[in-house]
């Protein structure tokens, strides 16, 4: 008898093999997919964008760590979900927003958007959008102050509003701001994004500029092509539910086309698709796994609902942009959509309705 050592066997239940993809790997890859968008944001808006991304991410990570500390649980910073929230939040804010507001946003995202519900996997809403909605309500002026992209001095100085100390008005540095904007070499800067130009001035922007990001807007929403490429990367790796994105974009396209049919002056579907935060929202926000339904039919309905709501708010609401509220509303009804769209179990006749 050769020596097979006794007592070295692990008893456990099947399956004994595992697929390679894990939650932290998925999260890390989402961060990779966001990197080119951050890079473009820094190129377009300069030091301020860089500082903003760093600030919000630091805020979310620190808050997440402290929350775990206080609740005496092992820290969950390593799963990268807080990093994603931080980056996404920065990408949805105006590039010139005071950094302290960005920091507050990051804290709110984790505390109100995530920890309050029980942490990763339990948040009803997308944490980054919860924070953005909070900031929109708390600081409406700062949240609607836009700067032009590709200003000459963007790498040598921050946008003046960026460095305003906490609790002071964003208007206090109006002179410096005027000086900064003077470098933009744009005649008659109106401080408007393509969507607000559309809404309040009836002016359209060339679709090509929207596509490549040569426009003012939130830090990371401007370059549609990079956002799409990030999405393609995640879908190719099987880490994103493309159906939600497809449904949301298709529904936005169709709804704006219908509005166009009814009213010739309504903006074209192509403009609607590539302007504002729709791309960023549809690719990176609406697809937040935790806050979306899991059922195959549910995700189509969920995406279509958000696309329609976006267009409805943009055209008929008071705000020029509707993506944020559309997604938050979608998040809110997501559990209900899931309950109503339970899959037909093999060998049963009808779609069974969930009890609760």
């Amino acid at each position: 008898m050769t020596g097979i050592k006794p007592g070295t066997f692990e008893i456990r239940t099947s399956p004994h093999i595992k697929a390679a993809v894990t939650t932290d790997v998925i999260m890390r890859n989402v961060v990779y997919a966001l990197m080119p968008i951050c890079g473009f944001a820094v190129w377009a808006f300069g030091l301020s964008a860089l500082a903003l991304v760093c600030t919000t991410t630091a805020a979310t990570v620190i808050t997440e760590h402290l929350v775990c500390k206080i609740s005496k649980k092992p820290t969950t910073v390593a799963d990268f979900s807080a990093v994603i929230t931080g980056i996404l939040l920065a990408l949805t804010l105006p590039p010139g927003i005071p950094l302290w507001m960005g920091f507050v946003g990051g804290v709110v995202a984790i505390l109100l958007g995530k920890a309050l519900f029980g942490g990763l996997g339990f948040n009803t809403f997308n944490p980054a959008l919860v924070a953005r909605a909070f900031l929109q309500a708390a600081f409406p002026v700062a949240m609607t102050q836009w700067v032009p992209a590709f200003v000459d001095g963007r790498f040598s100085q921050c946008i003046p509003t960026t460095l305003i100390p906490p609790f002071l008005s964003p208007n206090m540095r109006a002179d410096a701001m005027a000086g900064y904007l003077a470098q933009a070499r744009i005649d008659g800067w109106s401080g408007a994004t393509p969507l607000s130009l559309m809404k309040f001035g009836g002016k359209t922007t060339a679709t090509m500029d929207l596509f490549t990001g040569m426009i003012p807007g939130s830090t990371g929403e401007t370059c549609a092509i990079l956002i799409l490429l990030g999405g393609v990367y995640l879908v190719a790796r099987g880490m994103m539910n493309w159906r939600i994105t497809a449904a949301m974009l298709a529904s936005a396209y169709v709804s704006s086309w219908l509005f166009c049919l009814a009213d010739k002056t309504s903006p074209t579907p192509a403009f609607m698709l590539f302007s504002g935060g729709l791309m960023l929202g549809a690719v990176f926000m609406a697809t937040d796994m935790v806050a979306s339904p899991t059922t195959p039919l549910g995700v189509w309905i969920y995406g279509a609902l958000m696309g329609f709501l976006t267009i409805l708010i943009r055209l008929k609401g008071g705000l020029p942009e509707g993506v944020m509220y559309a997604i938050l509303l979608g998040n809110a009804v997501s559990p209900h959509i899931e309950n109503l769209t339970q899959p037909r179990v093999f060998g049963t006749k009808r779609i069974k309705k969930a009890v609760k």
């Binding site: 050769t2 020596g3 093999i17 595992k18 697929a19 060998g347 049963t348």
Partner: protein, 450 residues
């Protein structure tokens, strides 16, 4: 490979997973006989149903293939002596679940020729259904794909039911396993002999052999050996786990869905594993008993992996030593495949009728499964994997809350057949299928208590 295979248009079911196959370790190795161990033990309950009852005494001499235990009821089978020798003891032995259960201990005579002296020819072509059922029971054959359900019970069709299609399961969808593959390549005639018996018993109009398209040589061999003029089709179907599960295979080949809570016979079908049929084809015409089977011994920690013909009752320890097992690397010894197999608590457990393979995983593979568990991020991967179209994500959350009744009533928990696809794909490493096993056991217990 056919055009259909290249285009991905082979017949299949929806959902399921594609784990790495690892079949290259043993797929090309012909079946070899393993020598006899000096001591063997035959558990009295190695099949689904009532345990067999011993008909030998301690100290009695038995001849290879002699019956040593009789069936304990209709849903039960006899046991036959796996070798010539002396009954050393009838008592408790460690079983695969970690408990103790009754078994017959056999001491072999050294130098014995181990010739099979039992058996008499029978005329299969003129047997009635009842006679075939009895004859199959006498062979002691059970489902050799792993389920170990007595085969003759399936052949006894209840009043009012009719089997029009016999499905032959040559999928072998579990990674690593290659026994069915080798059987189809090396002895297709035995499989066809078994098919003849089963077809006769049912008077079935149609026989469909389903083989995954990763075994083109098996498809070829089965097509070549097919008897002329019989209504038998050999289908190459998609390689996907769990293609070999009864309900999935019926869906793939016949496009019929076994109703929830029902049996294959409810849709006029009956499924047999190729190894089961090969044994029936080999044993029944001579009225012999099941005393050996082919197993795959494989895995990264096995020095000499291969397909072996092993006497039932051979201890795992003997098999592993024969295959140059590198004990120091290994942590998990599994009977069956990696998706549904059972990790054994001891190497003194014998090879039984339902054992398809011994798989030894090394540290790297073990650690991969022992990764950290994250909360469910509701990614929906499990919904896309579940072949029964259940909602494992939701079921997992309900299991955490211990709301077992909701799981069964609103989310069809009882339709889960524990294939493990959900646990396999879960990026958060949640032991979903294990939670469902526990939940099902509790629900069954409650039902029995009330």
């Amino acid at each position: 490979m056919s055009v259909l295979t290249l285009l991905g248009l082979d017949k299949t079911f929806s959902h399921g997973v594609h784990p790495p196959e690892y079949k290259g370790l043993t797929a090309h190795k012909p079946v070899r006989r393993m020598p006899f161990a000096s001591e063997m033990l035959v558990p009295l309950s190695q099949h689904t149903g009532a345990p067999a009852k011993p008909i030998v005494r301690e100290g009695q001499e038995v001849v290879r293939s002699e019956p040593i235990a009789e069936p304990g009821g209709f849903v039960s089978v006899p046991m036959h002596a796996p070798a010539t020798g002396r009954i050393a003891r009838i008592g408790l032995a460690r079983d695969v679940r970690g408990g103790m259960s009754p078994a017959i201990f056999l001491q072999l005579y050294p130098g014995e020729s181990q010739e099979i002296l039992y058996g008499a020819p029978v005329d299969v072509d003129h047997m009635s259904n009842e006679e075939i059922v009895k004859a199959v029971q006498r062979t002691g054959v059970v489902g050799l794909g792993g389920a170990a359900f007595p085969t003759h019970v399936k052949l006894a069709v209840p009043e009012g039911k009719r089997i029009d299609s016999v499905i032959v399961n040559g999928c072998e969808c579990e990674p690593y396993l290659t026994t069915d593959h080798r059987l189809m390549v090396e002895q297709p005639e035995h499989v066809y002999e078994g098919i003849r018996v089963v077809q006769r018993a049912y008077k079935a109009e149609r026989v469909v052999v389903g083989i995954e398209n990763n075994k083109p040589d098996a498809v070829e061999a089965m097509r070549r050996a097919k008897p002329d003029g019989e209504p038998i089709e050999v289908e190459s179907i998609e390689t996907k786990y769990p293609q070999g599960a009864e309900k999935m295979l019926i869906k793939s080949l016949l496009n019929r869905e076994v109703p929830s809570g029902g049996l294959p016979m409810d849709v006029g079908a009956s499924v047999f594993n190729v190894a089961t049929l090969a044994q029936i084809g080999e044993l029944l015409p001579m009225q012999q008993g099941l005393i050996e089977r082919v197993i795959t011994v494989t895995g990264p920690a096995v020095g000499n992996p291969g397909n072996y013909l092993v006497a039932l009752g051979t201890p795992i320890r003997f098999v592993l030593e024969w295959c140059r097992y590198r004990g120091e690397d290994a942590s998990v010894v599994i009977l069956g495949g990696p998706m549904m197999g059972v990790a054994v608590p001891s190497l003194d457990i014998p090879i039984t009728k339902g054992v398809t393979s011994i798989l030894v995983l090394d540290k790297a593979e073990v650690e991969k499964r022992n990764r950290k568990e994250y909360p469910c991020i509701r990614c929906g991967s499990c919904l896309d994997a579940c072949p029964m179209h259940l909602n494992p994500s939701r079921l997992g959350q309900l299991a955490r809350k211990r709301t077992f009744d909701t799981m069964a009533d609103a989310f069809n928990l009882m339709d889960c057949f524990e294939c493990g696809c959900c646990s396999y794909v879960c990026p958060s490493n949640i032991p979903l299928v294990q939670r469902f096993r526990v939940a099902k056991a509790i629900i069954r217990e409650r039902k029995a208590a009330s």
